[in-house]
Amino acid sequence: MSAVIPDHLHDHHHPAPGGLMRWITTTNHKDIGTMYLVFSFIMFLSGGVMALTIRAELFQPGLQVVQPEFFNQLTTMHGLVMVFGAIMPAFVGFANWQIPLMIGASDMAFARMNNWSFWLLPPAAMLLIGSFFVPGGATAAGWTLYAPLSVQMGMGMDLAIFAVHIMGISSIMGAINIVVTILNMRAPGMTMMKMPLFCWTWLITAYLLIAVMPVLAGAVTMILTDRHFGTSFFNAAGGGDPVMFQHIFWFFGHPEVYIMILPAFGIVSQIIPAFARKPLFGYASMVYATASIAILSFVVWAHHMFTTGMPVAGQLFFMYATMLIAVPTGVKVFNWVATMWRGALSFEPPMLWATGFIFVFTMGGFTGLICAIAPIDIQVQDTYYVVAHFHYVLVAGSLFALFAGAYYWLPKWTGVMPSETLGRLHFWCSIVFFNITFFPMHFLGLAGMPRRIPDYALQFADFNAMASVGAFGFGLSQLIFIAVAVRCARGIGQRATARPWDGAEGLEWTVPSPAPHHTFETAPVLR
């Protein structure tokens, strides 16, 4: 993508540094957005390699590829890398590129802080990945870092804690920037209820981030002091309680899953109306649904803990509160379907991904509802059913929406239309292989196969072989996207007009494609 933007540097009054220094010192929201997206894609590939190693080991029963200790490190790091390295920074990248363009602002509110939030990430990633190479290896306590395991691990755990600290600070800084930009920098006439839904979902996500990332930082700080400074927050021998870690972690953890899905809802809510050529059905209800999901997310955390010996009254409360979230989520799904209803639909790659998102994400939502039922959850706790559930909402949810958004806005970012053939191929390979990978996991989980174990009983062999084949297919399909992105960045393909999708609405389509380095230096006027 770097090849496209420098042309526009020269029509500005101050000379920008060239080469690497340009990227290190940049305060431009578009540059920073690009760096976030590239970084998250690299992390996505690294996390993917870990996932494929896991699936290679699980292809057959017995131990063939890796040792159990390393397997545990892989499952842990796959989770941490994908959540904190891939999905979250990717959405921040979208926010950086799109929010100023969508609300008619010239840049983010704190451009210098924006640069810092990004450049905190590579060192954090290096700490995380580098922890594989320290004595004892990376942390193997699971991405949830449950005590007492996390209190006992080797120094890989300390590196992971520091990485989480740094990435948390980066997220909080990014979130503050987004809130201030959206609240203060909107073009005149852009009232809150006229704002594109992507900005709304990100505003609410940013508030969630500010509220819960510090709690995670606190939880891992407590682990750190338990490990090295003689405190006993989670150490039963010193009067602490390991279950308390789970309470504090999931107070962060459940809002975190909405941090990873609300911006996805926003992207899909931009794309569906554009390709249905109809305004979004129920805009206001979408805003209220997003806000209710965010608020409810604070009172459901213990649905991850039904098997910790909670009183029945507690189980019932968390079960019903969780099921309540299905209501605003259902409102959203019905609104998307109603937007498509009798629309002039066309299925270019962005719309394919968005429709695929609705279909597969809803399946993940339903299995979530099943997991929310306490008596069933006690059966499926820590089985592959849960693995299937959260991959349906995180891969088919967040990731598919990210690809939808990438295909939708690549013309604006690069000035080149992404290849339609490759885009379709990427989508169909992804959705088919995704389901081959994760659908059998429902059966494995219901039959009792535990997660995070490198070996399994013989009766699980067929479904595991199937899932592994699917996983390699899915992983290789993602290389198609590299081809798409590189072609766009190199300028290979059809030139994009300012508004390449004829149904697309919004301020970002009023600037030329590719978007000039500086946009909306004088605020646009809205009708």
């Binding site: 809130v179 500010i210 819960v212 510090p214 709690v215 930082a217 405190t231 039963a236 021998a237 309470h247």
Partner: protein
């Protein structure tokens, strides 16, 4: 842009304060959960059970209680004085464990009890136990520590044997400072 600068800064300060408050809130959850557990009685591992008033001793029934001891990364010798006792439910029973510090410095430890079968835990009422507080042993010190318990007569009929197992953990970083926490009578044996 500069027109927004003051507003932006004010919002930045507020949001930063919110983030710091939420960091503190994470730590505030610790006493909060402890309070909830205390009020609801969910987690009272370290508190004596109250003796049931006018407990009937069920003379018609024998229960075997086996004793087990473990140390976790602790240079202590720790063993029960008796391998097992046969008791009637409802009967007040006194047993003792012996512990010796084999190291040349004082070490503080905390014993954590567990029961087999797990279900028996709620019928096992400990009126006195060395596990209710941390124990600090001087270099080479040996100590005999009592456990006083009653088996609740409500113990399900199919449970005939209960194993009471203790594991001593070292209390990290508190090797010398825990002396003040010792229960009266436990330091003179």
């Amino acid at each position: 842009m500069s027109a927004h600068a003051a507003d932006n800064r004010r919002l930045l300060v507020r949001l930063t304060i919110s983030a710091v408050v939420m960091f503190a809130f994470g730590f505030a959850l610790v006493p909060f959960y402890e309070k909830i557990c205390e009020v609801t009685g969910i987690n009272d591992l370290l508190k004596p059970d109250t003796a049931a008033t006018n407990t009937q001793v069920d003379e018609s029934r024998w229960v075997t209680v086996q004793f087990d001891s473990n140390v976790h990364d602790l240079p202590w010798r720790f063993r029960p004085q008796q391998a097992a006792v046969r008791v009637h439910p409802g009967e007040l029973v006194h047993v003792a464990y012996e512990v010796a510090n084999t190291r040349a410095y004082a070490v503080a430890g905390q014993a954590v009890p567990s029961y087999g079968p797990q279900l028996a835990g709620q019928y096992f009422r400990k009126l006195d136990c060395f596990c209710f507080s941390q124990q600090t042993l001087e270099a080479g010190e040996t100590r005999t520590m009592p456990v006083v318990f009653v088996i609740d007569p409500g113990l399900p009929a199919e449970v005939n044997t209960i194993t009471l197992s203790y594991t001593f953990f070292e209390v990290a970083g508190r090797r010398t400072s825990a002396a003040g926490r010792l229960p009266a009578g436990a330091d003179s044996t």
